[in-house]
Symmetry: none
Subunit: 411 residues, 2 copies
């Protein structure tokens, strides 16, 4: 079974957009046991597109194409597909109704252009797009499968996960592959690799390990391949138990867990509340926490004290503390955490103060210096970190580190 990914759009060919769609699709096809033998990027040009798609149909058994399905004039995929599969565009009343509902829900007026989104080739199966207006298009021809989906990443992911993958599974396309991702925080990739190097060397042949680092987090993905589902499941369980002994204190979750969702569950289940006081993270911790549905049950709010006058005026950080120790200090961050906890009347509080960069560093406190404090019902703890020199990554790493410190200390 040969699979191909085709990304359509001039923005990729002029280098304006990096092709993250293709790597996401490649990864997810692979996780489903389908090997990708080629990725192509084709332009918004009917002739080039037609010849590129025809070549792919000759070479491969499964083709997933993204992009060019929008309502505007540069979106030509649908017409080219009609040429490729000898189809006519017909108005689908069912999809039109879905689009009408989509628009009326949002209070928008349906334009002629949007109505056209309901026109689909007469010899394909439309795949319902629950979060956009362009449906996916599923063609079958001479034992080959060709699927076209919008290039908007979240629509593409939604269609792949909920419409395409179940169909591929039903067709029995996929060997048996099992994945488990172990999520860690607090240790860089190479240090982690050093700690588990001996464990890794003794993994059985049908178990593969991949390191997937993100700013502030390292994901370890175990992939097991075989025929006996139960045996694979047991093998993975056993290996994870071994891992826990070695790096247990860095593991915060598995698979699609996030630190913010784990922290959220801990708070929710124990009926506890949280507030934050953020300086250098500028609201990013609060953003992570409130990105979890239902977070209003345990998150009361935050004060972002970017200016020192806000630290003293609204968080009662003592002026003398700022003068003697500075805003980026253990003394300041402890007062921030304890005071927001008291003022907002929460069980827990997180406070962060640091130098995100690129400016503001000194020899004593270089860019990347961050103090984090966690105030709990029983105690307040604080810790100093030295991250890197990239502003955005410092914000991310400080926020994830703070959430992990909080997680460890929720009782």
């Amino acid at each position: 079974m040969k699979a191909e990914i085709i990304s359509i759009g001039d923005e990729l060919l002029i280098g304006q957009v990096v092709n993250t769609n293709a790597s996401w699709l490649a990864e997810n096809l692979n996780l489903a046991g389908i090997k990708v033998s080629r990725i192509s990027v084709l332009p918004d040009d009917a002739n080039e597109l037609l010849s590129g798609l025809s070549e792919a149909l000759e070479r491969s058994d499964l083709i997933i194409a993204t992009g060019g399905l929008g309502p505007t004039k540069d979106d030509i995929t649908k017409n080219v597909l009609c040429q490729l599969f000898g189809s006519k565009l017909v108005m689908s009343q069912e999809i039109l109704k879905e689009i009408e509902i989509f628009f009326s829900k949002r209070g928008y007026i349906l334009t002629e252009e949007n109505r056209k989104q309901a026109e689909i080739p007469d010899n394909c199966i439309p795949l319902h797009n629950s979060i956009g207006t362009a449906p996916g298009l599923w063609f079958e021809k001479e034992n080959k499968i060709f699927v076209s989906v919008p290039g908007v990443p979240f629509e593409m992911k939604e269609l792949f996960t909920n419409r395409i993958l179940p169909r591929l599974n039903n067709l029995g396309i996929s060997s048996f592959i099992m994945h488990k991702t172990i999520l860690t925080q607090g240790l860089g990739e190479s240090f982690l690799a050093g700690l588990i190097s001996n464990w890794e060397d003794h993994l059985p042949a049908n178990l593969k390990l991949a390191y997937l680092p993100q700013p502030g987090i390292v994901r370890l993905r175990l992939t097991a391949e075989g025929n006996d589902k139960t045996a694979l499941s047991l093998l993975i369980k056993e290996k994870i138990e071994e891992l826990k002994v070695i790096i247990g204190k860095y593991i915060f979750g598995y698979d699609n867990d996030t630190l913010e969702s784990i922290v959220g569950s801990l708070l929710k289940n124990s009926g506890k509340t949280l507030s934050t006081a953020e300086s250098c993270t500028g609201g990013y911790i609060a953003h992570l926490i409130t990105s979890v549905p239902g977070s209003s049950e345990y998150f009361k709010g935050s004060v972002i004290t970017y200016a020192n006058e806000i630290k003293t005026g609204f968080l009662d950080v003592k002026v003398e503390t700022l003068i003697h120790y500075g805003a980026v200090s253990e003394e300041t961050v402890i007062q921030m955490a304890e005071n927001i906890r008291k003022k907002f009347r929460t069980d827990y509080a997180v406070a962060v103060s640091g130098i995100a960069g690129p400016d503001g560093g000194t020899e004593e406190k270089p860019v990347g210096t961050v103090w984090i404090a966690i105030a709990t019902p029983g105690k307040t703890l604080s810790k100093k970190f030295l991250f890197g020199d990239n502003r955005l990554r410092n914000i991310q790493r400080a926020s994830l580190t703070a959430l992990n410190l909080l997680r460890i200390n929720i009782r």
Copy 2:
């Protein structure tokens, strides 16, 4: 002149690595006036590679291939190139000497594998690699050019910039391509398309328009092609002036601008300050603002009032207002904006209150309902929006909409 980029490596086909090499090359070829008509990713497999490269040679005039030139067994590009161009591998004494110097400088011992890096096809021109051991390989055949370079990003960039580009320039290969991206906020892709449809229909043949939507933002990219740089520049200018007349109020910037950087510049240049009071956006506006280096010059801070008791207790929103109109109301959001502005003593303030979802919606105020208020030295304005039903996108759209409302009202 048709150009193609080929990236070689299994790591790209399993989605482990995102293909940033191809987008960098595409962008830099484009800037040099060379249009890329296709990007392909091929596996570390001799047959697949040979057929992929042969197809490219038939289709295109210039092919730049990256990857597979390393010293390890999975690097097979050189042998496949020998098949493709009927070459024999010969040891280049010149390159061997370069490699020996490279190793001795770093105090490394030269292994047999590394010596093999000096073996090159006998009918290509080697391109000196000053920062690595694998030289670039330049083939010419029947008026076509094929160049192979290592996949290590910094080596690829160095070889392209200092070895390939000068050669392409010498050959006089290049028409002139110019891009300008217009950034808009406040109108969806299809509505924007409807407004400028007539303008778009009358664009000259050498000017292409592309819609690049992101959550909350639509980018319009104009691409002009021709020989006369000045004429192209004038043409783009003229067309943008026309656009401004039609959709001027939605345009917030160009090319690499962001709303948060534009707002930041406006505040910085006028010496004004900002605070925010966020409910449903949960700190995301503050995060965007503070992601800009130097934002501490104009951003004082924020109160995230997720719980109603924080709205009343710390932002002095009147209890009666919450009882009579609810937290998601014009009355509440106006008080939030005006009170944070006064309390934090800033010139401007932004406040947002809404229902991000997935829960919390009612018939009267469905999920996606968001009130935004902007308090300025002279007045406070407020506006209601109805976004969609996806929590994260509602947060993003509400935040970008708020920043754009602020931008328009900074004097």
